[in-house]
Every structure is written in structure tokens, then in C-alpha cells.
């Protein structure tokens, strides 16, 4: 009886654990979470973004060039040009031959990490080309990736999505899952916007016509203000020549809010700077009264008002006939900060809520029909033993659900297919055992002995025949993505739980039948 009691104990233990794990999915209660439904079932949006990390490296070199210029001016080292050139390299062109020594000393002191790629000291204006250390490049890229992840997470939190899943995938990709998000367009605009906010002075002396031909004064660039005319619906582009150097950036923004302009009744975005930002802003406005200051967002000019007087409070306002949603989303991205580098959408999958509900409905329907077909078949073919197999099958499904809850796995539509497949395959173990028992009975063994022999001889075969399916399922789990992974999960769980239900649970029921009830004739 010893063997019966351990089977009983194990079965009860497993059953109890399973019930505790599964119950919360039907009734919200302590302690476990519900079973996760995949996006294909609950509807929502999945994005795979690539962070263009080389842009972050370029930005780094650009900043380095700016820093180097001001430091060299301070050290009175004359240069004719310092700029980033193709291939993430920095090119320095000195003013004259006699600057070389001073420059070398300066570089050794201030930028010992730069890698010299080439130098041409023979020319009248010596030219040097530098690159970053590989380690440093890797660091910048990784940093950009982390920061992008953090920024996107911030934005989505403020956007208000319940249970978003945002994670790094591989070296430079970000996987975003937003359950229940229907307005894909808005979500994507919010996530994908670089939101680089810059304040740049307008060069009012520049000739716009010449600038359009590509003749720009040194240190300036041509940017456009793009406005959709509310009356005609036409898009109007106004060109501006601005100084490249950004006086202030969105890094110093501490808060951004939507406010309705009392005169125009249109929404604006009001910015608050932190203390350092407020100081810089006060200085800029003080030094440049009567000049125009352009507020540039992702290289598009939003507004370029004339500075009337020193602004000390640390507030600024962005106007630019926004819709209410646009203004709200702009405030969110400005609060959450800029992405360190632009992102590109590599993959996008959106499932509408009605399709998800349809899939759930069809999944449940086919599971029930498949279950009934198999249950009826087993009961008719193997009678009482078949009923035992059916009970085991029911337990099996509970165990799969419990497994999903325990591993916090996600149930997807292919996952439901995996459950259905398990219903068909799980009875295999029972069939193997029953056929063996029938054979043993035919040789004339007593029911008790036949059951013993049947289980013993079938056990090894059952193990074996399930291992190969398990191998396939595990490999699939390793390499599969999204819905397919859900299939691998339910299939693996199904294989493992069917081993348990067949070898431990049904065995216990048989033993119970034969010893407690002392059945002489086995119904099989």
C-alpha cells in the first residue's frame, strides 16, 4: 500500500498547487497573478525598434568638436576647421605650421584617449584625423541603448498603458509590447519621436536666397518652420538661417505642460527649466535682446520669437498651432527627455481588439470540441479505464494552466493550439498502457498483475516517445519569438504533465480500483 500512498500524496500535492496557481485567473485574489494573454489574444501593438546608435557616436564627436574649438581658442591655438567627417572621425585643421607643437601638447593633456588615424604636417594648414577608442564607442552605443530604453519607458508610463513590456533585444534593438493600444499611429509617434529640443539664434543678416542655393555663412544652417495652414490645409514651409550651435537644449527642461492660450484659445506647451537651465536662459535672453531665438524640435523650427527682454523665471512657451493631442504628446516627450539617437521601426504588429476576442472565442471553442471528441472516444473505447484516462486528461489541462501561471508565461493563439495538441497526444500514454494491459489480460493474467505489467512495460516507451517531442518543443522555445514561443511553452508543459498524469495519477486510480474495490473484472 506504500506505493499507493505516495502516489496519492503526490497527486493531491500537485493538484492543490495547480488549483492555487490557476484560481486567480478566474477570480482576482491573493496571491498569484493571472495568466498572461499574448497580444494576439488581447489585442495591442508590438514594435521592434532599432536605435541608430552610430548617430549617438556622431553626436558625441560633434560635441567634442565644439568643446575642442572653445578650449583651443582659450589656449590660443589657431585652427581653421574642426569637424566630424564621415566614418565617425574627427578632423582638425590647424591655422599654420607653428601651431603643431602646441596642439600636440594640448591634445595629450586634454584628449589623451583619442586615437590618431593620420596626420599631414607638410601642408601649410596641417591636418589631423582622429577616431574614438573602440571601447569608448562601445560604451557610447551601450549608453545610448540604455538611455533610449529608459526614455521610451518613461514616455509610455506617462502615456498610460497598462502592463507594457519594454525590453532590450540583442545589441541595439528594443522590443515594445503595448497591450490594448488601438491608436497605433499616436503611440508610434510618441515612442519614435527623437524630441531633441534646441534653442538656436536666428542669423538675421544671412541672405535666405543664397542660403537656399547652399551658400551659408560659416557656422550656420538652414532650417524650416513647417506649418499646415488651417484654412487651406496646405503645408507652408518658411526657411530660417540659424546658428548651428545650440545655446540651450531640452536636457535642462524640468517640466512641460499643456496650457490654453487665453487669446487664441489654442493649446501651447509651457516649459520649466531647472536652475542651471534657467540661468543659461536668462543669460541668453539678456545677451540677445531684439534678436530672434528659434525653438527647434528635431531640426524643425517650432517658433522663432523676438527676444524682448531678459527672461529670468526659467519658463518658455512653445506655440505652433498644435491640436490638443499633439500638444499633450509633445509635453510628454519633453518631460521624458530626448532619445539619445533616432530610432527606426523594424517590425510592427498590431492586432485589433475584435480580432483578439475572436481568436479567444475560436480557441476556446476548438479546445472544447477537441476535448469532448477525445473524452467520448476514450470512454466508449476503453469504458471505465477510458474514464480514468479522461480524468487524467482533465487534470492535465489544469496542470498546463498552472504551469503557465507559475512560469508567468504568456498564452497565445498558437499556445492554445499547443494545448489542443496535448489533448490529442496526452491520451497516447494511456493508450500505450491500456493496450499493454489488454495484451496481458489476453494471456490470462489477473487484473492486478496485468495492470502492473502493463504500466511497467509501457513506462520506458512512454518516456522515450515523449522525449523527442520535448526536444523539438525546447528548441522551439529557444529560437521562437512571440506567439510561436507560446506554442513551445504549452507543448512542453503538456508533455511533462501528461507524463505525470499517466504514470502517477492514472496508476493511482487503477490501484485504488483494484485494491480498495477488489474488482475482479477490469473494465478496459
Amino acid at each position: 500500500m506504500n506505493s499507493i500512498s505516495w502516489r496519492l500524496a503526490t497527486s493531491i500535492g500537485v493538484l492543490l498547487t495547480a488549483v492555487i496557481l490557476v484560481l486567480p485567473s478566474f477570480k482576482p485574489m491573493w496571491p498569484h497573478k493571472k495568466i498572461n494573454l499574448g497580444l494576439d489574444l488581447r489585442g495591442g501593438m508590438q514594435l521592434v525598434l532599432e536605435v541608430e546608435t552610430n548617430k549617438a557616436v556622431e553626436g558625441n564627436i560633434d560635441r567634442m568638436a565644439e568643446d575642442m574649438k572653445s578650449e583651443m581658442r582659450k589656449d590660443r591655438i589657431r585652427f581653421s576647421q574642426i569637424e566630424r567627417i564621415k566614418g565617425e572621425r574627427l578632423q582638425v585643421q590647424l591655422g599654420s605650421q607653428d601651431m603643431i607643437n602646441a596642439f600636440d601638447t594640448f591634445l595629450n593633456k586634454e584628449y589623451p584617449d583619442l586615437r590618431e588615424l593620420s596626420r599631414d604636417t607638410a601642408a601649410a594648414q596641417p591636418t589631423f584625423v582622429y577616431g574614438l577608442q573602440e571601447k569608448q564607442v562601445a560604451h557610447i552605443k551601450n549608453q545610448a541603448e540604455e538611455q533610449a530604453l529608459e526614455t521610451i519607458r518613461n514616455r509610455i508610463d506617462q502615456f498610460g498603458v497598462s502592463e507594457p513590456d519594454i525590453r532590450r533585444q540583442g545589441s541595439n534593438r528594443i522590443l515594445i509590447q503595448l497591450p490594448g493600444v488601438v491608436n497605433a499611429q499616436r503611440a508610434k509617434a510618441l515612442i519614435g519621436k527623437t524630441a531633441l529640443l534646441e534653442f538656436k539664434l536666428v542669423d538675421d543678416n544671412a541672405d535666405i536666397g543664397a542660403a537656399k542655393q547652399g551658400q551659408l555663412p560659416p557656422g550656420t544652417e538652414l532650417l524650416y518652420k513647417v506649418v499646415r495652414n488651417p484654412d487651406t490645409g496646405r503645408i507652408e514651409r518658411t526657411p530660417f538661417v540659424v546658428f548651428k550651435h545650440a545655446l540651450l537644449t531640452g536636457r535642462y527642461v524640468s517640466d512641460a505642460r499643456v496650457q490654453i492660450d487665453s487669446r487664441t484659445n489654442e493649446p501651447d506647451v509651457t516649459l520649466d527649466f531647472d536652475r542651471k537651465g534657467a540661468d543659461i536662459f536668462a543669460n541668453i535672453t539678456e545677451d540677445n535682446v531684439n534678436k530672434r531665438l528659434a525653438i527647434v524640435l528635431d531640426n524643425k523650427i517650432q517658433t522663432a520669437p523676438v527676444i524682448q527682454e531678459r527672461i529670468s523665471g526659467g519658463h518658455a512657451r512653445i506655440t505652433g498651432n498644435f491640436s490638443m493631442t499633439e500638444a499633450k504628446d509633445l509635453a510628454i516627450v519633453l518631460r521624458a527627455g530626448a532619445l539619445p539617437a533616432p530610432v527606426k521601426v523594424l517590425e510592427e504588429r498590431t492586432v485589433g481588439p475584435s480580432l483578439g476576442a475572436d481568436s479567444i472565442h475560436k480557441g476556446i471553442l476548438s479546445t472544447i470540441v477537441a476535448g469532448i471528441l477525445v473524452i467520448v472516444f476514450m470512454a466508449v473505447y476503453y469504458r471505465l479505464s477510458g474514464v480514468i484516462a479522461d480524468v487524467a486528461l482533465a487534470l492535465n489541462i489544469v496542470l498546463i494552466a498552472a504551469g503557465l501561471a507559475a512560469f508567468k508565461a504568456t498564452l497565445t493563439l498558437p499556445g492554445i493550439a499547443g494545448v489542443i495538441l496535448t489533448i490529442g497526444m496526452a491520451v497516447d500514454s494511456n493508450v500505450l498502457i491500456f493496450e499493454r494491459i489488454r495484451e496481458e489480460l489476453r494471456i490470462g493474467k489477473m487484473p492486478m498483475a496485468a495492470v502492473d505489467a502493463g504500466f511497467d512495460r509501457a513506462t520506458l516507451t512512454i518516456m522515450d516517445s515523449n522525449i523527442t517531442t520535448l526536444i523539438a518543443a525546447l528548441v522551439l522555445f529557444q529560437f521562437g519569438t512571440g506567439p510561436v514561443k507560446g506554442f513551445a511553452v504549452t507543448l512542453s508543459l503538456g508533455v511533462v504533465s501528461s507524463l505525470f498524469t499517466a504514470l502517477v495519477f492514472s496508476r493511482y486510480l487503477f490501484d485504488l480500483l483494484l485494491t480498495k474495490r477488489k474488482v475482479k473484472q477490469l473494465s478496459i
Binding site: E347, L373, T468
Partner: protein, 346 residues
Amino acid sequence: MFQLVKPGTNIDFVRLRKFAYTLSLSLILGTFLLLWIEGGPKEGIDFVGGTVIQVRFTTPVSIPGIKKSLTAQHITGVTVQRFGNAENNEFLIHTDRFDMPTDKFSAKLAKILSADTKSKVEIRRVEMVGPKVGKDLRDKAAYALFYTLLFITIYISGRFETKWMVSGAMVAALIGGVYLVSLIGLGIYYLIGAALLITLVLFWFLDLRYAMGAIVALIHDVTITTGMFVFSGKEFTLPIIAALLTILGYSLNDTIIVFDRIRENLKKMPKSPLREIINRSVNDTLSRTLLTSGTVVLVLLALFFLGGGIIHDFAFTMLVGVVVGTYSSIYVASPILLAWQRKAKR
């Protein structure tokens, strides 16, 4: 007591093997011919990239109608397919483009279609896969296939003859061989081919006849299933690869059970000729084979008819795979043992 197969049934399966060989060979050749004509399997957007939009109309519309209104708005290069049953009025609109913002595209599509068809249009699903991701997913699928084959080969090389030393040597040789081939820098498909070839050669020289039977049956099943799939004009997607891998695992199941019975019977009746033992064993396990394949086919039919369009192709592939797998464990795997024995006698 219900009995599908009466005890003592003794169908002479071995006698039918010539017919089975002809059938299998022609199906396999047919598959290769088909793949050659079609220039490889048709791949879905998971692997080649592109955009698929699933739309539903409230009133019946025709495919040419949809195409006409799209062409009128200069949206070309799209294919339109009906999705699911005709009364659902659902369609898949497929384009190779992945450069334009999908949300704008689908919004435009919905606007055009609802204006032209006077029917409410619901965008139910949008999938866009860029070329980079497509390539990654294809690689992943190929690696999944490769590793499944590798692990299963390792398992069955030791499993039947329980000569684990031989199997260890076999694994080492296989991994070494694959490594050498990978050094040449050929793609993963060549790697899979090379691994299969090495496996077959090794099984041959190491005299692992059960393993040989099992692996040949496996290749047989997956090839024919692929053939049927391509023949039906369906597209390869990630779930289909999942189905093929599952078939790899599942079809071996039947073969293992028949082979186990053969070895058991060999011990029980050492004097009988192999031909008789094979027949005896296939007949012994026939009832089980048909029953379990039967229940799996039963649930797959439920999935096929009730599971909806998204899971339809998956269910189809599994159905074909299970049927072919059952056939192969009776008619392909075991007769190979016999063929091998004849070779050994000569």
C-alpha cells in the same frame, strides 16, 4: 470490448513495401520537382519582409473590386486574398513595402475602401516586418530546424542500440563535421544538408540500423509535408516552422514504439526471420498506432475547422504531418531494417 484491430491480426505489411517505396519516392521526388519549379517555398512576410493588413467589410466585396479601387488611388504592387470563410468578408492585403509608415498606409487604405465599397471597413490586424528582421527570423527558423535535427539525431543514435560509446563517437564526428563545413562559411541550409549527409554516412558505417530507419522516416515525413504544403500554395511563416518541428518530434514517437516492439520480439522469437518479426511487431502495435494518431487527427480536425484563419495553415501542416508520420512508421522505417539485413547477407 471495442477493438479497432482484432488480436491475432496479421497483415503482411512487408509484402506491400515495394508499393510503399514507390509511393514515398514519387512523393519525395514530386516535392523536389515542385520546389524546383516554384523556385523554393513561398515565404510569408515573417521571412521576406513586407506588410500584411487584414480588413473586414460589413457587406460582401470582391477581390477585383478591392484591387480596382486601390489601383485607382495609385496603390499598386499589392496582392489581395480572401481570409477565412466567404461570409466573413475578410481579406488580407499584402504589399512588399515596409518603408512607409504602416499606420498612415492602413488608414488611407481604410478610407479608400470604405468610400468605394460603401461598406464599413475594419482594420483588424497590421503586420509589418522590415527586411532586417525578416532575415533574422529566417536564420532563427533555420537554426531551430538544425538544432532539433541535431539533438534528435544524437538521441536516436544512442537510443536504439544502447551503444552509447558508439553514439558518443558519432556525436563527436557529427559536430566536428558540421564545424568543418561551417568554416567554409556556407549558409545554414547547406549546414543542415551537410549534417544530414554526415549522419546518414555515419549511421551506415557504424551499423546503427534502427537509427538509420528512424532518421530516414523523419526526413521522409518532413519532406512530404513540406511538399503538400507548397502544393497547397500556402506561405511559410513562423507557426508553420513550429508545426514542422513538432512533426519532427512527434513522428519519431510512432517509429520508436514499433522499433521497441521489434527488439522485444527479436528476443522472444530469436529463430524467426526478420521479415516475420517486423510484420508481427507492426501488427502488435497497429491498434495503438491507429488509436493515438486517431485522437491527434481528431483534435487537429477540430482546430482546422473551428480554430479560425490565423491557425488554419498550422493545423493543416500538422494534419498532413501526422498522417504521413503514421504511414512512415509502418511502411518506411521498418522495411529499411529488412533492406539493410539483405545487404548484410550479400
